[in-house]
């Protein structure tokens, strides 16, 4: 394998990484943001296999297998997180989550963000505990 072939692979990997970076920065859909990070990982794995082939050892491919493992973990975690977020706001817009602080604080994102949307179920943001034992008597209603 000549050096030009190695460089061509590195160029393609760099282009894939840059395209994934653009997608990560510009898309507003939560799912597409995660998919763009997977695109960046593709660029990195291409570099790893090209160097492994150049040096004639399997270490580049072994590292790519670990990248694959981490990508699978990341996809599973991200999807469950996205499902939880979607269930609260019924939207995949990332700008809805631009303000995780108090509601009277100014929003950090730019002007075309929608107004701070109330969750559809007001109790959805609260953790649900399984009720156990006897219901306590309320002292205020007793008096």
């Amino acid at each position: 394998m000549t050096s030009t072939a190695l460089e061509s692979q590195l160029v393609v990997g760099a282009i894939l990484f840059a395209l994934g970076m653009i997608g990560f920065l510009t898309r507003r859909n939560l799912i597409l943001i995660v998919l763009s990070t997977e695109l960046m990982l593709h660029g990195v794995s291409l570099n790893l296999t090209a160097f492994g082939r150049y040096h004639g050892n399997p270490q580049g491919q072994v590292f790519t297998i670990f990248v694959l493992t981490i990508a699978a973990c990341e996809a599973g975690l991200a999807l469950s997180l996205i499902l939880t977020l979607y269930q609260r706001r019924k939207s995949l817009d990332v700008f809805l989550w631009g303000n995780l602080g108090e509601e009277d604080l100014p929003m950090l994102s730019s002007g075309n963000a929608p107004p701070h949307a109330k969750p559809i179920d007001p109790n959805a943001d609260l953790p649900h505990l399984t009720p156990a034992g006897r219901a306590p008597s309320n002292p205020t209603t007793k008096a």
Binding site: A18, L19, L46, N57, C73
Partner: protein, 248 residues
Amino acid sequence: MKNGALLIPVCLGWLAIFWLLPRAKPRSRILGAIIGLAALLALQATFLPPVGNIVRDGMFYLFSGSAILAATLMITDRNPVYAALWFALTTLSVCGLFLLNSAPFLSAATIIVYAGAIVVTFLFVIMLAQQTANANYDHRAVQPVLASVMSFVMLGALLFALQEWGGIDGKADDAAREGQFVAVDASSKANQFSQPPSSNKTEIGSMRVLGRSLFSDYLYVVELAGTVLLIATIGAIAIAPRRSQGTL
């Protein structure tokens, strides 16, 4: 200007991506496609010279071109379902490049994990969560100028570094002195199960060599990766919405 040829594909590519990014008023995609093809041709002329083996060159151009095209369409498509399908096509093209890098097992594993599992799961989530087909937030990019300029500046820096570097062997004789990438002998003497570096380069992707390296040199890392998978599974189950809270 020594590195002036670098600017042509980078600027053309930036123009194409910027033109194709989704915005409120749709633009003609044909003009963006023409600029993008010009950028790819300029890139081929400056950075991707043919090696000489015509079959290998043809396959490399085919796979890399389809990978870049599908990635561009993925980040510019307004419909997230189509974007996920373009990502599957990118994955298949990258797997073809893996095959060219003599990694058949890795190519098959990537197709199974990405195209078979990850993309299908993403498609399920998109179809479950996307109630309106044309959501407003998919039609407008966030800060398209800043994001594309920053990414292409980074791409230009990477290409410039590659051009200055000039290859491991051949053009840059003083690479070893300057601490650049140098081919090192990979045999680790401490591990008796370690695979000696193979002289046959088509063999490095075989199951035997790969498994030998995985379970001797990287045994602890394999255990660690298994632990990470287990933790991620537990975390995903803990984070996912319960049926009592109302699933999708």
